[in-house]
């Protein structure tokens, strides 16, 4: 019984999730580029500080200065750990790379097993920490929406179950059941990327860029760009 569910989750559902994420993100990027292009054209201001925008984006991507900020230090650090874990573990886990190699014949660097374990634990702890930070801070709590609470939780599920799959003796459930939950939760997460605020994984640069470009626009177009900046107030 579980076997056929796993077969379904490993085959069509995984494909559905991956295709949905890839194509959904591609759609967001293309639309965003198009809209920025039109915004620039309508603005008519040819002096665009591309260098500044690029630097802002790099600073955002390599957040050394961001981490040195005084306010909410712990929260920022937790967020950083969380992002590193969420990206590094699924992509470089040896087991995952092996699947890619088996299915598509491509392969890359693999994370050593023990590092992966520790990083997974750290990610789960960080996810809980982020939720706590959001809960304890009055300002964040008021602007939080349901998806802000649900997404970190959902992110943690594949990590917990993945850890159990790697170490079946720690697991409270049977291997197959845990594996199935791992697959399904990860697929749900992947599927949700283009339909939730997780889309910031490809659209982060537009908020950084438009915040730099926005100041240069003539008064009329500023209104629209200001609206597009609204995303910034969310934090990462």
């Amino acid at each position: 019984m579980l076997e056929s569910w796993i077969a379904l989750a490993r085959g069509p559902l995984l494909r559905l999730a991956l295709f949905a994420m890839a194509l959904g993100l591609l759609r967001h990027v293309l639309l965003q580029v198009w809209e920025i292009f039109w915004a620039l054209r309508r603005a008519g201001d040819q002096v665009v500080p591309w260098g500044l925008a690029l630097r802002r984006n790099l600073e955002w991507l390599l957040p050394w200065r961001y981490l040195q900020r005084k306010e909410r230090r712990l929260y920022n650090f937790t967020s950083f750990i969380f992002h590193v874990g969420v990206i590094v573990v699924p992509v470089f886990l040896a087991g995952h790379v092996a699947i890619w190699q088996q299915e598509l014949g491509i392969s890359w660097w693999r994370l050593p097993g023990s590092v992966a374990d520790w990083l997974a634990v750290a990610t789960v702890v960080a996810a809980v920490g982020l939720l706590l930070g959001r809960m304890l801070n009055q300002a964040s709590r008021t602007i939080s929406k349901p998806q802000d609470w649900l997404l970190p939780l959902l992110c943690a599920v594949p990590f917990v179950t993945g850890f159990w799959v790697a170490h079946p003796s720690w697991s409270p459930l049977g291997l197959q059941a845990v594996y199935l939950v791992h697959l399904l939760s990860a697929e749900l997460l992947i599927l949700l990327v283009p339909f939730s605020k997780l889309v910031h994984m490809v659209l982060f640069w537009t908020s950084q860029t438009s915040s730099e470009l926005g100041w240069r626009f003539p008064p009329g177009s500023g209104e629209r760009v200001r609206l597009s900046l609204g995303k910034d107030s969310e934090g990462v």
């Binding site: 494909r15 559905l16 295709f19 087991g95 092996a98 291997l175």
Partner: protein, 610 residues
């Protein structure tokens, strides 16, 4: 833009998205993966619907051209531009459909330089190319009307009549040649459809289909853009359609009667029922409806009658190019959903282009003016945010594009997920051959015990016909492979979960997989490294086996069994094992002398022995 148009466009984008997914698979994995076509049914939906049907759907262009310009019926002038646009896009759709259907689409231009005037398809190809050019020239004035190329516009307008007459003549040729295509298949096509007058029938049916299409399309456009339909024109067209349908009906029935085949239509066979269904849908019911003056003046009436005619005549094309051939090939063909997706996707895509041109160029001036007013109004609507992704939706034109692109991407993803990635092979009721359960090696050695009772239990008592009388009466020896086609395929044996589960706490990847390098099947230990005893002790014959898979029957017989039996046959102690005789497995002609056969096999055996 009305709400109706927006919803319609959303649906069209969805279908186009599905088709786009199939397109990717079609051009990377081939026809075998995306179609149910086979050697017995090499032409399917894509030829029947896209090409045969598509060309006829676009016949409205030349019919309306004739009515309005040659016969000078001025009240139909309104229908000319939409009809020519439909024809232009219809032919373009046919060309695109051909690209899907051709096995080597990159060679489509070969029709230009490699000539075979004997071939009806060659004639069709050339006429379609010429007519597509003519249609483009006929339609070009619409693009030019509101531009500064007024000189060219006026020249083209003056050329309109010669172009239309040329178009009518070229259409006559290829519409009838589509029927000529089928003249070569007297042995495939059922006699109710096959007649030497197929070319003429196809031409008349193209006129019917073209008129139905013009009526259908103008009533749909009127509904979409909430305009009052031009009842006067529609009822006039309906009268023309009634005339054409009556002509077609008389022609078809007279032809059957003339060739003494009318009896076939009352046989009660599948083909006879198909014939009457097709005639009813395409001709008889629409004809009756069009003959009633009240229906002719009702918007709904002409819409229903014309859409029935449309479907009926499309069915005629599909019947002639496929359904009415099942009778001869005895092979069922039902298009895969991917084929439907491409066929409807092409239609949807070109319908979107149709709407785009309607909304941006003066095809029908009222629609264009409405649209331009609507576009002006949109400039003053406030921008919006998407709640989920918190992304700016832009102004409403952008918002609608976001919706369409979302619909398109969702369809694309669903399509890519559900499209088959492997070619279609004969379905087998047995997914994994479980040797021990089904094949019981009985006595004497070399025969396979067939558990008849178990098969009866599994298939049901009425299932005798599944094995016996499969093809013809007297077929008593249906081979196992008729159902169990995977007998011949290597079978996956290894069950990873079972192993992990059975090993329990002792399970660790490194027990089987290497520490370094990928942990996949190929690099893992051989089964024999743990199962040396289980696999070797009982079965002396099978000493080599592939990792994870068991050999298929023919592979096993030819590669393992026969080799061993040949070798053992030279051992004087053993004598000659039965399996070495080809005849033990391969059936032999009885009617022609077992003596001869025995002798010949003895000879071969002797040869091997020496």
């Amino acid at each position: 833009m009305t709400r109706r148009v927006q919803i319609t466009k959303g649906i069209l984008w969805f279908i186009t998205g599905l088709a786009a997914a199939v397109t990717i698979i079609r051009f990377t994995r081939g026809l075998g993966t995306t179609t149910a076509l086979s050697d017995t049914t090499p032409w399917g939906l894509w030829v029947g619907f896209d090409v045969m049907g598509g060309v006829a759907l676009a016949a409205g262009g030349f019919v309306i051209g004739a009515i309005a310009h040659v016969f000078k019926r001025d009240k139909y002038h309104h229908a000319v531009r939409p009809a020519i646009l439909t024809a232009l896009l219809g032919y373009a759709a046919v060309a695109v459909g051909l690209l899907f259907d051709l096995g080597l689409p990159w060679n489509i231009w070969h029709a230009l330089i490699f000539w075979n005037p004997q071939s009806p398809l060659f004639e069709v190809a050339w006429c379609v190319m010429i007519y597509l050019t003519i249609l483009f020239l006929e339609f070009l004035p619409v693009f030019l009307e509101r531009t500064r190329f007024q000189a060219l516009y006026r020249i083209l307008l003056r050329m309109q009549l010669p172009l239309i007459i040329l178009g009518i003549s070229v259409s006559t040729l290829h519409q009838s040649s589509l029927g000529t295509l089928l003249l070569i298949m007297p042995f495939r096509l059922h006699p109710l459809w096959y007649t030497p007058h197929l070319p003429e029938l196809f031409f008349v049916s193209a006129i019917c289909l073209g008129l139905s299409m013009v009526i259908f399309e103008s009533s749909v456009t009127a509904w979409l853009y909430k305009r009052k339909p031009n009842t006067d024109m529609l009822s006039g067209l309906a009268r023309f359609a009634a005339g054409a349908l009556a002509l077609y009906l008389a022609f078809r029935l007279f032809d059957l009667w003339h060739h003494d085949k009318i009896g076939l239509a009352f046989e009660g066979s599948f083909e006879a029922r198909l014939f009457w269904f097709e005639m009813g849908l395409s001709t008889i019911v629409p004809l009756v409806l069009f003959l009633i003056p009240k229906v002719r003046r009702s918007h709904t009436g002409v819409f229903i009658a014309s859409s029935m005619g449309l479907m009926g005549f499309l069915l005629y094309r599909i019947d002639a190019s496929g359904l009415a051939q099942v009778w001869a090939t005895r092979t069922d063909y039902f298009p895969m959903w991917t084929e439907f997706a491409v066929s409807f996707g092409i239609v949807s895509f070109f319908a979107l282009i149709y709407l785009f041109i309607q909304e941006h160029f003066p095809v029908e001036h009222e629609i264009l003016d409405e649209e331009e007013k609507w576009r002006q109004r949109q400039l003053f609507v406030l921008p919006r945010f998407d709640r989920l992704t918190q992304v700016w939706l832009g102004d409403p034109t952008f918002a609608s594009r976001r919706v369409y692109s979302l619909v398109f991407v969702v369809a694309l993803v669903l399509g890519l997920t559900s499209t088959p990635w492997q070619p279609l092979v004969e379905a087998s009721p047995v997914q994994r051959a479980r040797g021990g359960d089904i094949l019981k090696v009985g006595f004497p050695i070399g025969t396979v015990a067939f558990p008849h009772a178990e098969h009866v239990k599994r298939l049901g008592k009425e299932a005798c016909g599944t094995c016996h009388h499969l093809h013809l009466p007297g077929d008593v020896g249906t081979p196992c492979s008729e159902c169990h086609s995977d007998l011949y395929l290597p079978t996956r044996l290894f069950d990873h979960f079972r192993h992990v589960g059975l090993l329990g706490e002792n399970a660790s990847c490194e027990r089987c997989h290497p520490k370094e390098g990928p942990r996949i099947g190929v690099t893992a230990k051989k089964c024999s490294s743990c199962h040396e005893k289980d696999m070797m002790a009982e079965n002396q014959v099978v000493k080599t086996f592939e990792y994870l898979t068991a050999p298929g029957l023919s592979q096993a017989a030819h590669g393992i069994c026969i080799e061993c039996h040949k070798r053992e046959a030279t051992n004087p102690e053993w004598g000659k094992p039965d399996l070495f005789r080809c005849a033990t497995c391969h059936r032999t002609p009885v009617s022609h002398g077992d003596v001869v056969l025995e002798a010949s096999l003895e000879e071969i055996e002797d040869e091997v022995l020496q």
